[in-house]
Symmetry: none
Subunit: 209 residues, 4 copies
Amino acid sequence: MSDTARSRAILATASRLFAEKGYGNATTSEIARAAGVAEGTIYHHFGSKDGIFLTIFDETIEGYLAGIEELLARGATGRETLSALTRFQFDYVSRHSERYLILLRDFPADLTAGPLAEGSPQKKKLDRITELFRRVLARGKADGTLHLPFPVRDTAEILRGSFYGAIRLKMTGLIRAPLPRLARMLESYWMEALAPQHPAESPRGVPGG
Amino acid sequence: MSDTARSRAILATASRLFAEKGYGNATTSEIARAAGVAEGTIYHHFGSKDGIFLTIFDETIEGYLAGIEELLARGATGRETLSALTRFQFDYVSRHSERYLILLRDFPADLTAGPLAEGSPQKKKLDRITELFRRVLARGKADGTLHLPFPVRDTAEILRGSFYGAIRLKMTGLIRAPLPRLARMLESYWMEALAPQHPAESPRGVPGG
Amino acid sequence: MSDTARSRAILATASRLFAEKGYGNATTSEIARAAGVAEGTIYHHFGSKDGIFLTIFDETIEGYLAGIEELLARGATGRETLSALTRFQFDYVSRHSERYLILLRDFPADLTAGPLAEGSPQKKKLDRITELFRRVLARGKADGTLHLPFPVRDTAEILRGSFYGAIRLKMTGLIRAPLPRLARMLESYWMEALAPQHPAESPRGVPGG
Amino acid sequence: MSDTARSRAILATASRLFAEKGYGNATTSEIARAAGVAEGTIYHHFGSKDGIFLTIFDETIEGYLAGIEELLARGATGRETLSALTRFQFDYVSRHSERYLILLRDFPADLTAGPLAEGSPQKKKLDRITELFRRVLARGKADGTLHLPFPVRDTAEILRGSFYGAIRLKMTGLIRAPLPRLARMLESYWMEALAPQHPAESPRGVPGG
DNA sequence: GATGAATGAGTGTTCATTCAT
DNA sequence: TATGAATGAACACTCATTCAT
């Protein structure tokens, strides 16, 4: 429905302006001018300013979800998949940093409606992220390549939170280390944190708890 | 300077309204009415709407920084301090959830000025957080209670990011697990991730605690 | 660009209100209401309240400059052109007294921006007035119909100042004599002041008139 | 009544700020701060912001009127007095340029009340200026040193207008020639314009110069 | 579909003035 | 006298949205 050249131009321009100055500071008239369309055209294609944002949101999230699903489909061990997930996460952010920045920085603070309301399509997509993370961990638990002393779902939530937080702080300038290094470190620390114990070597060792 | 009864009332009311509806959706006239003062009084005390926000920001961050500094001053081992840091972090958030929510959700997306600009007082305070995290880890590295395969500063950044991300996702409703459980899990996983290596090979090693 | 019926209505209404109560005391909402448009429409067409003023300024000055240029184009002697200039000046003021009043009384005291800044379009137009006055005098000097004991440019400046001052005092109620009489007197006195010298030597010379 | 050290400080500070940024753009709180007094003190001494302006107005005008009266009291010829008047006018402006600027630029455009209303003390003082100009010219007419082909009062009005206009244009940057030159030129041209006729009877008479 | 002029409710902010102390 | 915290009525300006063409 929004796949004409015009709507692509609007999305591209809006992404750039949202990233540059923030969703709240970019005006629809500005977007229209920069995209070379009339202001009304935006409303024909997206219905509202939030509509543009949500379209960007959907496209960005969908590519992200699809990427993770593909990882899972490869059928590697849980540990390998977690490793791949980490690398994919940071790779995806790097490749779509403009759009990712918008989502991370301006959502949901600036949105008029409540796209985070229980049952909204956006909320469902965001919940699907946790679900996919959970599946990665569940596989590791099942095949013994990951050790989870806590419920899988809960662990998936903080795993996701640790990626999310590092990236958001990075994108708002509060973290110095470059993204690839963050990726490597997070991968390494999570591998360590979820490493299968050395039952053979120290059968009694029961850290955490 | 802003410690009259009136300015306290403005801060309390603004905190509540910002938390309820978001910084951008709370109006100064609304805050004034709810606080029982004239709108001009807000400007007499805080200069601008952003001024209110930044005052809340400063007070919240200062209590937070002071708490961490106190932890460090206790002189426990790095590992113990990291453990205490985790517990303090989530405890502080719980005790100041309203104000913490404002900071986490609405900053910096909604601010008109640039309080994250290099050199701004706000940026300095936020950078101080990472610095304190770094000191906790550095102590653990020095006393051998923590194993850091990566630079201390970089590790401090992702440690901070993991706390921040979990809490922000929790506060925006994307994480189900209750805060205390998040605290316990993060503590446990970080302890594991930074545990001194191969306790089996050095039988006296007694991780956790 | 601003030549729709709506923008003409805004200009006409604003001119009236500015003249009646002064630029600073006329509000944009009042202008909009009186012009029968929405307040936003003013900003659509003129960008700001100052923008209305500057449009009025430009239109008024342009007609004025064009009138003088036309006088010069007639190719009469300098003396005749000066005489015609005087009459044109007061005639123009009479015919556009409302707008002229606004310019004379409220400019530049009330303007927030600096339209008198060197290099601004307004400053250029105002400087062009002196330049045209200078050309009138220069012609008289060249053809011997005017005697100028001082530099032409400087004389043009006080010639202009004398018109300007008389009209401004008149419009602020500090001068009683009606405009036409001021015109006649200024013409006569300037003719006398710039009369070619030594009428005694050429007994037929009858300056003034 | 307003002759304490504090009220002098307020007047001096206000004069400076009014001259710098215009009456309308200088705030009472700013004046109070710069003068080192509380804002309320301004209202004790001057009753209102306009009150400050009017006090400056009165003091400036009074010195001006007194100067002209003194000129008249010297008992010189009308011609000599006119000459002295011109010199005094520009001299006074130079010596009080800050306060004169305020009056010339910001009055009456920015005043809330109507100090130009018929019967107001300000209007009376301003009318007195014309009256004194009239007396100078009347003396010249009586003693034969000035030739006035038009009513004395009317001539006084445009004489005053020519001074006023030149000075206002100068002070708003629309005239380049320095004040002293303007003084010399205006004196010379008016002398010429009002020169007694009969060039045939006194062939050597070369007024002006 | 595409346009862009028009809308108008809403916003943060200003500032001369007041008055209890 | 002097203070300065408090006031609150205005104000210029914004901008997502609509709709007649």
